[in-house]
Symmetry: C2
Subunit: 444 residues, 2 copies
């Protein structure tokens, strides 16, 4: 059921984006007349438009569209059809039930939910995580679990805890730029390890290991970003063996192992009998991204070094969020939410897969079996130009150079944000642009 | 009105801390009998005890006290009488009204309150802050305001944006260790500038400025931590002039300018006609510390450098918290909350001041007029030993060496957490210990 002010908001937003209004919107009085809603509803709608940086309300002068300069900036961030972002829209998360969790938390814990939390994270939440990990064959005490406000922060602290500047870190390529930038900024030497269709190229890795003293490997074993590839079990086991043989730590970054649409995902950490794997869990793709909460499981040998840096940083997840999440996470709402999520995304995955298969010029892995995006190669096409051209049509994609300089003919196509209608529409547009591009050859 | 489970919790907690129980608590059945409450109430109380790390529930075996080792660790963190922490207890914050703000936010914004927020922070919140600053004679556009999840993070990013390792930063001494540690860890040369009774020693500072290329000064002009001193207006203006003459930036850290019990505080930033002052506002002392939200006002000349590092860090305040805070902050609840807070703390300030004046052996500034603590000198006494002795009596203070090596005869006495009864009781204990200490001379 859509609320009145949301209805007004969405009508006005569409008009603004289509250029119906030039410099100004009609007066509040005129809007009240047009929509036949009361003033408070109209004001709420205007507040939402303001929030999206679409309008500015100038007292006694009227409602102005934001200047063209801001508008362009905004356009780049929000697309009419968004295949760029891999963060699902907020409306697929269970708002009502989560609201209950927040209320229960404030009711039951009172002021405690608003005071400082224990640095390592809310005790009961860490205990719950420990129990949930058991089901995934990971047996770790709550003492080795840290609640973190974001995965990039955890990656940074881990790197600092394990490496001196100038030392070597390995990363799968193409890579998640967030992690790469951290390593670069901290002054590490980064070695890029190629991906194969079943995960990281272990032969290449071993060559590197023989030649260099690599201390730390960053990997995304499930639905790797941006390729979507999942590491085979065989490789997982082999990788653990290598970590022992060559004595390095592995950071397993897990943002969406839940989103395997055909079977249960396996975690690298569950094969880690040597305590060489650090397991980092982010919820931003599967639960309220603005929530700023994840966790990391730290092998006890490095706990002290991690803790020292982490506690000093003094950046923690808010206590209310930790406790409300605990309440939700322990309930059946969580499991039901994951089931719903998988159902929704599986449908979109299959639809997108089918549509992309119809396109002849592109190459991509058709057996990802999960995740939120495809990594598409298109010969002889500079995907950065494609990106710019699609932007003009208000369609977003992520060109290959976002993920490494060596993938100029690739782009990441995410189906996280759009529904099937929009996916269809967007793919039609893509096809058009490909047609044009083949006429003019390289230059689209 | 205290809830049943909280009643049970607080009785059991007292018993545990007094050592009534040895290894185990009575069984759940026995507790139900004793308190005549139902099982769910008892379980809730036990959950709270568990959360405070006081007990462990072992299935089929009973309710165990946490091991002595954990217990000692815990004792150091929570004191029966806490003059150590300057963070007020959560129960002085307006829970019910804030709950309303959270509800309204979830109701009105829906899923948006749970998605990623704009990196710089929620637009309407930044706009509101800009308006509120006007009343304090600070005129800054929302574009120069950044919402941050904690002040330490902001200090770190600012330092990185303004200084190369090896460059010189100035800090008032004694100092807030959080800031000092950041500068030390980033490899800056730190020069300590002494405090006078009206703020930083400007003559000393100018000597330093003539001799060294100081680029950045960290200062707490209002209710300086730990001395409680407020910078005079004269010094504020003079300091701004120096920043121009010697070309350095000033970071004004403001955690409690609201807590002036006799007049309105002045902010250094309000005299900053040269755009040399960075104003950092933390709410952790005056509003829900576990909330992880503050802001920083950045001079536009350094905005780009700050932004670059901040956005890359990717540590933001949760969107729900930002939006709920916006709702609360804009309402009259906020103003009323500050009025209540000042009333409560003024009473405690005056009471503590009176009590401390009765003690002959100590010296301290009697004209702070606000804040949450006193900085007390006691000749010939190593306050670290005092700290350890008081800890045995379950009383907490902050010894001088926490704030710099040169203040061994000082301690910070905070009245933020305890009510007047406890302050009275604690000061009586302090007096006893001073008596003993004078007998045995230096060694108490």
């Amino acid at each position: 059921m859509i609320k009145k002010h949301q209805e007004v908001f969405s009508i006005l937003k569409k008009r603004i984006l289509r250029g119906v209004y030039k410099e100004k919107l009609p007066s509040i009085r005129n809007l009240i007349e047009e929509f036949s809603y009361n003033k408070s509803t109209i004001l709420k709608a205007l507040e939402e438009l303001k929030e999206e940086n679409l309008i500015e309300i100038k007292p006694c002068r009227g409602i102005y569209l934001t200047s063209h300069k801001n508008f362009e900036k905004m356009e780049k961030l929000t697309y009419e059809i968004d295949f760029k972002s891999a963060v699902p829209r907020g409306n697929i998360f269970p708002l009502e039930q989560f609201k209950e969790s927040i209320l229960k938390t404030l009711e039951f814990h009172g002021a405690k939910a608003l005071e400082y939390e224990e640095n390592q994270g809310y005790l009961l939440l860490r205990e719950l995580i420990s129990k949930k990990l058991e089901k995934l064959n990971i047996f770790e005490n709550k003492e080795n679990i840290f609640i973190v406000p974001g995965s990039q922060m955890a990656i940074e602290i881990l790197a600092k805890a394990l490496l001196y500047p100038g030392e070597i870190v390995g990363i799968e390529t193409p890579y998640y730029p967030g992690a790469y930038e951290i390593f670069k900024n901290l002054g590490y030497k980064i070695i890029e390890i190629p991906m194969e269709s079943d995960g990281i190229d272990l032969k290449y890795l071993e060559k590197i290991l023989k030649k260099y003293s690599l201390k730390f490997l960053y990997t995304v074993p499930n639905f790797h970003n941006p390729t979507g590839i999942t590491m085979s079990l065989e490789k997982m086991k082999k990788l653990i063996e290598l970590s022992k043989k060559y004595n390095f730590y592995i950071l397993e970054d897990d943002t969406m192992s839940e989103l395997n649409y055909f079977q249960e995902s396996k975690l690298l950490k569950s094969y880690d009998n040597l305590n060489k794997v650090i397991y980092l869990k982010s919820f931003s793709k599967i639960f309220n991204p603005g929530f700023k909460l994840g966790y990391v499981v730290i092998p006890k040998e490095i706990k002290l070094s991690f803790e020292k840096i982490f506690f000093k940083k003094n950046y923690f997840s808010s206590s209310l969020n930790q406790r409300a999440f605990y309440d939700f996470y322990k309930s059946s709402h969580w499991d039901n939410h994951i089931i719903d999520l998988k159902k929704t995304f599986k449908e979109k995955y299959l639809y997108t897969l089918g549509k992309l298969k119809e396109m002849k010029k592109i190459k991509f892995n058709k057996n990802l079996n999960g995740g939120l995006y495809f990594w598409i190669e298109i010969k002889n096409l500079d995907t950065y130009k494609l990106y710019l051209n699609l932007m003009k049509k208000n369609i977003g994609i992520s060109p290959g150079i976002f993920f490494s300089d060596n993938f100029k003919n690739y782009f990441r196509f995410s189906f996280a944000r759009e529904d099937i209608n929009k996916i269809q529409k967007g793919i039609e547009e893509l096809k058009e642009i490909f047609k044009i591009s083949s006429k003019y050859n390289k230059d689209i």
